[in-house]
């Protein structure tokens, strides 16, 4: 076997992570702010008040800036699949490409068509037609997100496909399983409703800035009222879908759950870590004499209930997953990492033998061995069981940041609704809300860190680790493009912040008399 440079794997991952994280600065605001502005335009159509029209138009302007700046950062991700992850793209392109193609053809074109009517159509189409265009724009963006998240969920739980050793490709055999499996549905719901939360935090934050400046007070109060109601509903839905997300992860990616909980030794009646500090520098892949947690305040039984819906449900820890031998929900016994690696190597060898075989009998024997061991194909590339353990501290703390901030947003929106008569007088509260804006992005990014770092080392869970998925490029070339992207994306971000800041400073036209 030929070795692949470990730093090439790291730089390829870093480059993809950089692109995805920048892309995800724009997307959730598009999804969240889009619904808020559509609600405001709905209020305009229902009440006929010019005030709501100008309010909707102002948020639409910020939506447009964000949308324009976000356009094409996603295209770079698709470039990278082909250039930096070519083995991956070939191996699963038939499945992974389908949702991306549907996204491009259907959802993006729908979004693009109606966004023109939304911006150019004021006074040219009827109020109701314009409102329909606004809703269809944001529905298009949301459907777009659906297909992207289907593709991502499939990587976390590959289903509905069959491996063809002649083409060395996985081929889709069940579209419904790919598009509507539990993981995809929950991921979509959790991601979209959490993006609504981000949009609402942005709206209340900007509105509080106007209150601090003593400008556009009616606009600010009205925006806070709409965004706080919608944000409260969205943040409660985020908590609800987050619970289901935890259940799906427990079923499909137990190692991710163990890493997010800092759970080394599993068992029944497991508590959920409410607040915890990990011991720095500890090896999470091996037993240690001292406890791996410095501080651990648990909610008793909660992890067992979350993962299995039973108080005495069994939740495996990192050690259990590596050593195997515990009962699985289907009644079978979990294999150890060593056994999986052995079967993975057999699958890789069988693929080579199948490709080299000249007579039908040898081909059939190799195919049989390949089919028997294919579920563990990716394990064959691992050097040791320790490779299966993701970066625990990053996953653990990101999970806590996401959950704590999610709880804070519920309190924030509820507080704004209860105190809305007093918000104008309390500058400290106004400052607090303004400073909450970046926290919404922090929570959103932390959620993706849990999802993506927690599934390492896999590009496709169980089937293809990063080391096998990447293209054999020069490490220097990947490093160069990493820094080019970093520079370009940062430039874009600064430009967006500048243009958006200018638009916010100018403010809405709600105070001007109707023409």
């Amino acid at each position: 076997m030929e070795a692949i440079d470990a730093s090439l794997v790291d730089w390829s991952r870093a480059q993809f992570a950089l692109t995805a994280m920048y892309h995800w600065l724009f997307v959730p605001l598009t999804l969240g702010l889009g619904v808020v502005m559509a609600i405001m335009e709905t209020l305009y159509v229902r009440t006929g008040r010019e005030f709501w029209k100008q309010t909707a138009k102002f948020w639409m302007k910020l939506f447009g800036i964000n949308f324009a700046m976000g356009v094409a950062t996603g295209i770079i991700l698709e470039f990278e699949f082909g250039t930096n992850w070519s083995n991956y793209s070939w191996f699963v392109g038939d499945i992974f490409g389908a949702p991306l193609a549907i996204e491009g053809i259907l959802a993006f074109f729908m979004e693009s068509t109606f966004i023109a009517v939304m911006y150019f159509g004021w006074n040219k189409v009827s109020k109701r037609a314009h409102l329909a265009s606004t809703w269809l724009t944001i529905i298009g963006a949301t459907i777009s997100a659906w297909w992207i998240l289907v593709a991502n969920a499939w990587m976390q739980h590959p289903v509905g496909m069959e491996f063809n050793p002649d083409t060395v490709r996985n081929e889709m055999v069940d579209f419904v399983a790919v598009a509507f499996n539990g993981g995809a549905v929950v991921k979509f719901c959790h991601t979209v409703v959490s993006s609504w939360v981000l949009g609402c935090v942005f709206v209340v934050g900007v509105s509080c800035w106007y209150l601090l400046r003593g400008r556009h007070k009616e606009f600010a109060h009205a925006s806070i009222r709409v965004a706080a109601w919608f944000g409260l509903v969205a943040s409660l839905l985020t908590a609800y879908t987050g619970h289901h997300s935890g259940r799906i992860i427990a079923e499909q990616q137990p190692m991710k759950l163990a890493a997010a909980e800092g759970l080394y030794e599993g068992g029944t009646q497991q508590g959920l870590v409410m607040a915890g500090v990990l011991r720095p520098g500890v090896d999470w892949a091996a037993p240690t004499e001292e406890d791996k947690m410095l501080l651990n305040i648990e909610m008793p039984y909660a992890l067992s209930v979350l993962a299995t819906h039973k108080v005495d449900g069994y939740v495996p820890g990192i050690r259990n997953i590596l050593e195997g031998g515990y009962p699985l929900p289907d009644g079978s016994v979990a294999l150890s990492a060593e056994e999986k690696m052995l079967r993975g190597r057999k699958a890789i060898e069988a693929l080579g033998e199948y490709r080299d075989a000249e007579d039908a009998e040898d081909k059939a024997a190799a195919l049989k061995a390949l089919r028997e061991n294919f579920a563990y194909f990716g394990y064959g590339y691992l050097k040791s069981p320790a490779d299966l353990v993701p970066p625990v501290p990053l996953t653990f703390y990101s999970f806590r940041i996401m959950v704590i901030l999610g709880g804070y947003f519920i309190v924030l929106f509820a507080g704004l609704l209860v105190l809305r008569q007093h918000v104008e007088r309390w500058r400290l509260v106004q400052w607090g809300v303004v400073l909450t804006i970046p926290l919404a992005w922090l929570a959103s990014q932390a959620g993706w860190v849990v999802a993506e770092v927690g599934r390492q080392p896999w590009a496709i869970q169980g089937l293809l680790p990063n080391v096998a998925a990447i293209s054999r490029l020069e490490t220097g070339a990947v490093q160069t493009t990493f820094f080019i992207f970093l520079f370009l994306f940062t430039l874009l971000l600064v430009a967006e912040l500048g243009i958006m800041g200018k638009a916010i400073a100018t403010g809405p036209e709600t105070d001007k008399p109707a023409a």
């Binding site: 076997m1 030929e2 070795a3 692949i4 440079d5 470990a6 090439l8 794997v9 302007k61 447009g64 800036i65 324009a68 700046m69 356009v71 094409a72 295209i75 770079i76 470039f79 082909g82 250039t83 070519s86 083995n87 070939w90 191996f91 023109a116 911006y119 150019f120 159509g121 040219k124 002649d166 083409t167 060395v168 490709r169 890789i348 060898e349 693929l351 080579g352 490709r355 590339y381 691992l382 050097k383 490779d387 680790p465 080391v467 096998a468 293209s471 054999r472 490029l473 070339a477 160069t480 493009t481 080019i484 370009l488 874009l492 430009a495 243009i499 638009a503």
Partner: protein, 69 residues
């Protein structure tokens, strides 16, 4: 007739843009950098040939690759 109305709708819309002009400039510069500069100089065509050759190349990669030190 309807095509003419649609075309006029877009032309008037683009003409009436204020902030939109800046945003379109940024989008076009961004697309130029990505397609003309990055694609041409930094993104090599890693897999070459027809489907069979690409399959063979990936097969070789997958059966001969191992994790490095």
């Amino acid at each position: 007739m309807i095509l003419k109305r649609i075309a006029r709708f877009y032309i008037e819309g683009f003409r009436g843009m204020t902030l939109g002009r800046t945003l379109w400039c940024i989008i076009l510069i961004k697309l130029f950098i990505m397609f003309a500069v990055l694609k041409a100089f930094f993104f090599p065509a890693y897999l070459k040939g027809d489907s069979a050759e690409k399959g063979e190349a990936v097969s070789t990669e997958l059966t001969e690759r191992k994790a490095g030190e």
